[in-house]
C-alpha cells in the first residue's frame, strides 16, 4: 500500500439513565422482570394515552451536559421521529431534533501524543424501545414493552477521533463521568451504554472527509476496536481498488469479525420529524440550573488535584483510586477515619483490585465499608495482627463483609505479643538450629531471617514479626 490513510471517527453514544421510573410514565425501569409487567397505557402506545415528562431525566441530562462542558439549551423541545417497527408501540419515538438539551461541549482524553479534546456536538433526551423476541419454535415474534420508555440520552460527538484507542479513551472518559454523576451504570454488555461508530478514511493531508459508514451492534470495547480495524481496512481496500465507499448503516458481527450492510442512504428513512404536540417545551430556569450545578459531585479531574494536595500518595495511586467514584469515596472515608491514606490506598490498590478482578466485579460492587477497612488498617498497623493474618481477614471482609475485629477474635488471629511465651518458643528454635545460631554469630545476617521464619512457623503464624526479631537479637 503506497498511500497513507487516516481514520476519522465520530460516535453516537446512547446511555440509559438510572431513573426509578420511565421518561414519560410512572412504570419501573428495572432491568428484567416478566415480559410486559412494567407497562401501562402510555408505554404500550394505547389510544388516547399521553406522555408526561420525568423531571429527573432532564436533571440527569443537564448534569451530564455540565460535566462535559456543554451549553445547556434553556428552552428545549421534544420532537417526534416517525418510523414503523413493532418494538416502538406508537410507531414514533419521542426524541429531540431541533432544540436538544445540551450542545457544544467536549471531553479531554489522553493519547500517546498528549492530551486531546473530543468535541461533543449535542446531547439529547429520548425514549428507548421495547424488545422483540423471535420464537423459532412457534414461528412468531413477541414484543416485550418493559424497556419501552426507559429514558436515554444520546451523546453525539464531533468527528474528532482518529483511532480505536482514542475511541476507547473517549468512551472510558464518558463512562467515568456519567458513573460519577450516578446518571447511569454504563454497562455495554447489558446495553445501558451503546455506541454507534461513524467512520470514514481519507488520504493523509486531504482536508475533505471521505464517505462515512455507521456501524451498529457493538457490545464491548473489544468489539468496538475490532469493528474499527475491520471497517478501516474494508474502506481502504475499496478505495485502493478504485471503488467508492457507500454511505450506509452496517451491522457488526463480532463472531465473524465482519460487518454487513443494513441500509444505504438511498433507502434511508425519512423520519418526518415534527415538534411533539403532546408535550410542552421545557424551560430551564436559572434557579433550577444552579440547583443542579450545586448538586454536581466532585469529578475525577478535581479529585486528582485535591489528592495531590491532601494525601501523601503517588499520582499513580491517585489515578487508579479515582477511576471510580465509589472507590474514591471509600478511600476518602477510610483515610478520614484512620488517618493513614497511604495504607488505605495500598489495600485498595492491591488486595481489593485483585479480588475484584478474580470475582469479575466492578468497584461499585464492593460491599465492605470504609469503617471496616479503616479498622483493618489500624489492626495491621499497630501489629495487633500480622501481615498474613491481615490478608486473611481482608478476604473475609471482602467476601462476606466480616467485621475485622470480630473475625480476629473468632479465629484467634491476634498476634502473640506475650513476650514471655514468645521467648520460650525462640529459645526452643535456637536450641533446634545450632548451625544457624553459629552462622549468625559468625556474622551471617541472613541466618536471622531463617530463625524468624522458624519461630513464626512454630507460632503458627500468629506472632508479631517485629517482636520476634527483637527477642531473637536479644537472646543471640
Amino acid at each position: 500500500m503506497s498511500r497513507q490513510y487516516e481514520t476519522v471517527i465520530g460516535l453516537e453514544v446512547h446511555v440509559e439513565l438510572a431513573t426509578e421510573t420511565k421518561i414519560f410514565c410512572g412504570c419501573s425501569t428495572r432491568f428484567g422482570g416478566a415480559p410486559n409487567t412494567h407497562t401501562c397505557p402510555v408505554c404500550t402506545g394505547m389510544p388516547g394515552s399521553l406522555p408526561v415528562l420525568n423531571k429527573k431525566v432532564v436533571e440527569y441530562a443537564i448534569a451530564v451536559g455540565l460535566a462535559t462542558g456543554c451549553k445547556i439549551t434553556r428552552y428545549c423541545k421534544f420532537d417526534r421521529k416517525n418510523y414503523f417497527y413493532p418494538d416502538n408501540p406508537q410507531n414514533y419515538q419521542i426524541s429531540q431534533l431541533y432544540l436538544p438539551i445540551c450542545r457544544d461541549g467536549g471531553v479531554e482524553i489522553e493519547t500517546p501524543a498528549g492530551k486531546k479534546v473530543i468535541g461533543i456536538h449535542e446531547i439529547h433526551m429520548e425514549e428507548d424501545a421495547g424488545k422483540l423476541i423471535h420464537d423459532e419454535w412457534e414461528d412468531c415474534s413477541l414484543v416485550d414493552y418493559n424497556r419501552s420508555g426507559v429514558p436515554l440520552i444520546e451523546i453525539v460527538s464531533e468527528p474528532d477521533m482518529g483511532s480505536a484507542e482514542e475511541v476507547i479513551a473517549y468512551l472510558d472518559k464518558l463512562r467515568l463521568i456519567i458513573r460519577y454523576l450516578g446518571a447511569s451504570d454504563c454497562r455495554l454488555q447489558e446495553g445501558s451504554m451503546r455506541a454507534d461508530v461513524n467512520l470514514s478514511v481519507r488520504e493523509v493531508g486531504t482536508k475533505a472527509f471521505g464517505t462515512r459508514t455507521e456501524m451498529k451492534n457493538l457490545n464491548s470495547f473489544k468489539a468496538i476496536s475490532r469493528a474499527i480495524a475491520g471497517e478501516r481496512s474494508r474502506q481502504i481496500e475499496l478505495l485502493e481498488a478504485g471503488k467508492p465507499v457507500i454511505q450506509e448503516t452496517r451491522r457488526w458481527d463480532d463472531n465473524k469479525e465482519y460487518s454487513y450492510a443494513m441500509r444505504s442512504k438511498e433507502d434511508a428513512k425519512d423520519y418526518r420529524y415534527f415538534p411533539e404536540p403532546d408535550l410542552v417545551p421545557v424551560s430551564i430556569s436559572q434557579e433550577w440550573l444552579e440547583e443542579i450545578r450545586a448538586r454536581q459531585p466532585e469529578l475525577r479531574s478535581e479529585k486528582l488535584v485535591r489528592y495531590k494536595k491532601e494525601y501523601d500518595i503517588p499520582e499513580y495511586d491517585a489515578r487508579i483510586l479515582t477511576e471510580s467514584r465509589s472507590m474514591a469515596e471509600l478511600f476518602e472515608e477510610a483515610s478520614a477515619i484512620c488517618g493513614k491514606p497511604k495504607k488505605v490506598s495500598n489495600w485498595l490498590m492491591g488486595e481489593t483490585m485483585r479480588l475484584l478482578k478474580e470475582a469479575e466485579q466492578e468497584p461499585e460492587d464492593i460491599s465492605f465499608t470504609a469503617a471496616q477497612l479503616a479498622k483493618l488498617v489500624e489492626l495491621a498497623d499497630t501489629g495487633a495482627i500480622n501481615g498474613p493474618a491481615a490478608k486473611e481477614v481482608f478476604v473475609h471482609m471482602f467476601q462476606e463483609g466480616a467485621d475485622p475485629e470480630q473475625y480476629v477474635k473468632d479465629h484467634a488471629l491476634g498476634a502473640v505479643r506475650d513476650a514471655g511465651a514468645l521467648r520460650e518458643t525462640v529459645r526452643q528454635v535456637l536450641e533446634d538450629n545450632p548451625q544457624s545460631v553459629a552462622d549468625y554469630r559468625g556474622g551471617k545476617e541472613k541466618a536471622l531471617g531463617f530463625l524468624v521464619g522458624q519461630t513464626m512457623k512454630a507460632m503458627k503464624g500468629k506472632a508479631d514479626p517485629g517482636l520476634v526479631n527483637q527477642i531473637l537479637r536479644e537472646l543471640l
Binding site: 394505547m46 389510544p47 415528562l53 414514533y92 418526518r272 404536540p277
Partner: protein, 500 residues
C-alpha cells in the same frame, strides 16, 4: 311529556328531590333510544346493563347525600373516541372495531365523579375526520330534523342523540369545529372550551394541538353545567392548564349591557347562505336591543385558516394514527406475508378513504423537502391568526359569527367533493388554531325546517363571557329551542345502513 323532554338540570333536580330515580332516567333514555335508533343511528354502542348498574350506584350515593351535583343521575352519551374502560371504543373505525380500553378518559371519569351516567357511545366521522358523520365505518347517522340530511360532524352522533331527546347530554370533541358545526346542524348547544381546559387524556388523538373535549346539550345552562363537570387540571395531560376557577354556571345571567360584540365582516361575505346570514345578524340585533354594543371589524387572514388547519391537523394525525398497525390491538388483516405486508394490509383494510387521505396528506407535508414549505408555514399562519384574534379582543369581548356557511346538507352530497367539505369548516377552524373557546347555539330554522347555528367566540379562558352572551340570546329567542319531535314521528323510514 316524557322524561327525555326535560333538560339535564331539570332532570337532575327531580332526581335530587326524590321525585324520580337515576334508574327512571336511564330507563327513559334507553326507551327513547330503542324507539329512535332504527331511524337515527346516533349510537354505536348502547350499554343498558352497565348504565342501570351505574344508575343504582349513583342513586345510592345521591340518597346518602354523597352526590350533590346538579347532574347526578343524568344519562350522558359519549363520543366513541373517548376511552371507556371495558366498553368498546372504536372511533367509528374498522381498525378499532374490537377495542376495549383498559382505562377511562379523564373527561368521562370526571363526568362519572359528578354522578353522570354513561349510557352508550355515539357515532362519529372515522377518527373525527369529516364534517357529516358519513365517514363512519359503521353506518351513517341521520339528522333528527330531516332524515334525508346529515347531522354534521364529526360529533354527529352526539348531537343527533341530544337533538332527538335520546338523552339530555353528550360529550363530543372539537378539532376544527366537530362540536360546533353538528350542534348547529342539529339545533343543539355545543361548546368547545379553551385548549387545555378539559383533559385530553383518553381522547383518541386526531390533531393533538387542536383537539378539545366539550359538552353538547339542549341549552346553554345544561352546556355550562356539563362543562363544569368535565373540566379539570390533569397532570396526565401535559397541555392541561390549571385555571383560576372552574365555575361556569355562575355566568348564566341575562345580562349583555355594555358587552362589546365583534362582528367579523369577512365571515359574512361570499359563500354564506343568505338565510343563515340574516338569522345570525337578526340574533345580533336582539343582543344589541338588550344593551350589547355591536362592532363590525375585519378579522383578516380568513382564507388562510383552512389550509393551515388541514396541514397541521393532518400532519399530527399521520403520526397519531401510526400506532394502529394491527400488532397490539384492533384489526389485523387475515392474510399477510411478513411484517410489512401485515402493516400494509391491516392499515389499508382498517382505515377508510377519508382517514387515508389525511394520513397521506399529513405524511407529505412532514416529508423532508416539504416540511418547511408546508408545515412550518402553517405554524406561522397559526401564530398570525392567534395575533389577529388578540387584536380583535382588544376592542371586543366576544365575536359573533355563523357556525357553518349553510344548514345541514343532504346525505351523500358532501363526500363527493372533499375539498368543498373542507371549506365548510371556514368559521370554526380558526378557534382551534388560536385555542379559543367557542359556543354554538341554535337561533332559527331555515325555510326547509333545518336549524341555523350561531357561534360565539371568546378570548382564551373567557368561557364565561360567551356563556353569558349565549344565555342572554337564548332567553331573547324565547327560551328553549324546539324539539324535532314532529319530524321524527312523521318520517317512519328506516335508516339505510352502510356496511363495512
Amino acid at each position: 311529556m316524557g322524561l327525555m323532554d326535560l333538560t339535564a338540570l331539570e332532570l337532575g333536580k327531580k332526581i335530587k328531590a326524590g321525585e324520580l330515580t337515576a334508574m327512571d332516567a336511564v330507563e327513559a333514555a334507553l326507551a327513547s333510544i330503542e324507539e329512535k335508533e332504527e331511524r337515527l343511528h346516533s349510537f354505536l354502542t348502547v350499554d343498558p346493563k352497565g348504565a342501570l348498574e351505574q344508575a343504582k350506584a349513583v342513586q345510592k350515593r345521591i340518597e346518602t347525600g354523597e352526590l350533590k351535583g346538579p347532574l347526578a343521575g343524568v344519562p350522558v352519551a359519549v363520543k366513541d373516541n373517548l376511552c371507556t374502560r371495558g366498553m368498546l371504543t372504536t372511533c367509528a373505525s374498522r381498525i378499532l372495531y374490537n377495542f376495549k380500553p383498559p382505562y377511562t378518559a379523564e373527561a368521562v371519569a370526571n363526568l362519572q365523579r359528578a354522578g353522570g351516567i354513561v349510557i352508550g357511545k355515539t357515532n362519529m366521522d372515522e377518527f373525527a375526520m369529516g364534517s357529516t358523520t358519513e365517514t363512519s365505518a359503521f353506518g351513517i347517522t341521520r339528522n333528527p330534523w330531516n332524515l334525508e340530511h346529515v347531522p354534521g360532524g364529526s360529533s354527529g352522533g352526539s348531537c343527533a342523540a341530544v337533538a332527538a331527546r335520546e338523552c339530555p347530554l353528550s360529550l363530543g370533541s372539537d378539532t376544527g369545529g366537530s362540536i360546533r358545526q353538528p350542534s348547529s346542524y342539529c339545533g343543539v348547544t355545543g361548546l368547545k372550551p379553551t385548549y387545555g381546559t378539559v383533559s385530553r387524556y383518553g381522547l383518541v388523538a386526531y390533531g393533538s394541538s387542536l383537539d378539545q373535549v366539550g359538552p353538547i346539550a339542549r341549552d346553554v345552562s345544561d352546556c355550562a353545567a356539563l362543562l363544569e363537570a368535565i373540566a379539570s387540571y390533569d397532570r396526565k395531560d401535559s397541555t392541561s392548564v390549571q385555571r383560576a376557577e372552574y365555575d361556569f354556571t355562575s355566568a348564566l345571567q341575562e345580562d349583555v349591557a355594555g358587552l362589546r360584540i365583534g362582528i367579523p365582516k369577512d365571515y359574512f361575505g361570499e359563500g354564506l347562505d343568505a338565510q343563515v346570514r340574516n338569522a345570525i345578524l337578526g340574533a345580533a340585533k336582539l343582543l344589541e336591543k338588550r344593551g350589547a354594543i355591536l362592532k363590525e371589524f375585519d378579522l383578516g387572514l380568513v382564507p388562510y385558516a383552512i389550509p393551515a388547519y388541514y396541514i397541521i391537523s393532518s400532519a399530527e394525525a399521520s403520526s397519531n394514527l401510526a400506532r394502529f398497525d394491527g400488532i397490539k390491538y384492533g384489526y389485523r388483516a387475515g392474510e399477510y406475508e411478513g411484517l410489512h405486508s401485515m402493516y400494509k394490509r391491516s392499515r389499508s383494510q382498517g382505515f377508510g378513504a377519508e382517514v387515508k387521505r389525511r394520513i397521506m396528506l399529513g405524511s407529505f407535508v412532514l416529508s423532508s423537502g416539504y416540511y418547511e414549505a408546508y408545515y412550518i408555514k402553517a405554524l406561522k399562519v397559526k401564530a398570525l391568526i392567534k395575533e389577529a384574534f388578540d387584536r380583535a379582543f382588544d376592542h371586543c369581548d366576544v365575536i359573533l359569527a355563523p357556525a357553518a356557511p349553510s344548514t345541514a346538507p343532504k346525505i351523500g352530497a358532501s363526500l363527493k367533493d372533499p375539498l368543498k367539505m373542507y371549506l365548510s369548516d371556514i368559521y370554526t377552524v380558526a378557534a382551534n388554531l388560536a385555542g379559543l373557546p367557542g359556543l354554538s347555539l341554535p337561533c332559527k330554522l331555515d325555510d326547509k325546517g333545518l336549524p341555523i347555528g350561531l357561534q360565539l367566540l371568546g378570548n382564551c379562558f373567557q368561557e364565561k363571557k360567551i356563556i353569558r352572551a349565549g344565555y342572554t340570546l337564548e332567553q331573547a329567542l324565547g327560551g328553549h329551542f324546539p324539539a324535532p319531535k314532529e319530524v321524527l314521528k312523521e318520517t317512519g323510514g328506516k335508516c339505510h345502513e352502510q356496511t363495512v
